[in-house]
């Protein structure tokens, strides 16, 4: 990992199109501004990690077909009742 030290209002360029700017430093919190082309997604890392973890956990789900049928019936019933 490349480590660079920046002061507030200083920036880092990643390639030609991505800019990360230190907006403000308050205690142990750093506010960063990010400018990137629209097709590049920018998210907090924890979000990515959380989704990956959830996907992996989901593949371990195991339930019988009949259970799903029962739940589907109940969800359907729930929908029909709403229409009243």
């Amino acid at each position: 990992m490349l480590v660079l030290a920046r002061k507030p209002n200083q920036s880092i360029m990643i390639g030609d199109d991505i800019e990360i700017k230190v907006i403000e430093v308050k205690g142990d919190q750093i506010k960063l501004g990010i400018q990137a082309p629209k097709h590049i997604a920018v998210h907090r890392k924890e979000v990515y990690e959380e989704i990956k973890k959830a996907n992996i956990e989901a593949t371990k789900s195991k339930k019988s077909e009949s259970t799903f049928k029962k739940i589907a019936d109940l969800l359907k019933k729930n929908r029909v009742e709403d229409k009243k």
């Binding site: 629209k38 959830a54 956990e57 593949t59 799903f68 739940i71 589907a72 969800l75």
Partner: protein, 160 residues
């Protein structure tokens, strides 16, 4: 064209034309590109997003509008463009939204933070990140439903 794919429940017949291509796979499974959507029940409540490349990988998915009346799909426009949904008309006609379900001993939850969006016409899909900060990866499906005691019993889930 019919063919057979391997699934955790054995070989299933599928129509090759129904294959959905995920150019980026889904998070944690980025190298899995080809999926089929299989039925799980006759009311089309649950489906299985079945990987073709790895037969043991299959995700239970559900349309979030079915259990959350106020569900809003709030993802980057770029994500919709990526699967070739370019207009509201496109979205109305061809966009399918699913959330991945996790079941364990005590709960059934849906991942609202990472919805699966699919263009049913172009057969392209992707997992997008929701911009709604209050959505979680473990949204309790059961609590959204009134008679959840019945459902918990059906699931064989403890009420504790």
């Amino acid at each position: 064209m019919e063919k057979y794919i391997d699934t955790p429940d054995g070989k299933i017949a599928v129509d090759e034309n129904e294959r959905i291509f995920f150019p980026e796979g889904i998070y944690a499974f980025e190298n899995l590109r080809n999926f089929y959507i299989l039925k799980m029940d006759n009311d089309n409540v649950f489906h299985l997003l079945q990987s073709e490349e790895r037969p043991e990988i299959a995700f239970i998915i559900i349309n979030p509008y079915l259990f959350k009346k106020d569900y809003v799909l709030n993802v980057r426009e770029e994500d919709l463009k990526y699967i070739k949904i370019l207009s509201e008309e496109d979205a109305e006609k061809n966009l399918a939204v699913f959330t991945i379900v996790t079941i364990n001993e005590n709960s059934m939850t849906a991942n609202l933070l990472g919805p699966i969006i699919i263009n049913l016409k172009e057969k392209i899909g992707k997992q997008a990140l929701a911009l709604n900060e209050e959505y979680s990866t473990k949204h309790d499906i059961l609590s959204e439903i009134e008679n959840n005691k019945e459902i918990r019993e059906a699931l064989g889930v403890s009420t504790g």
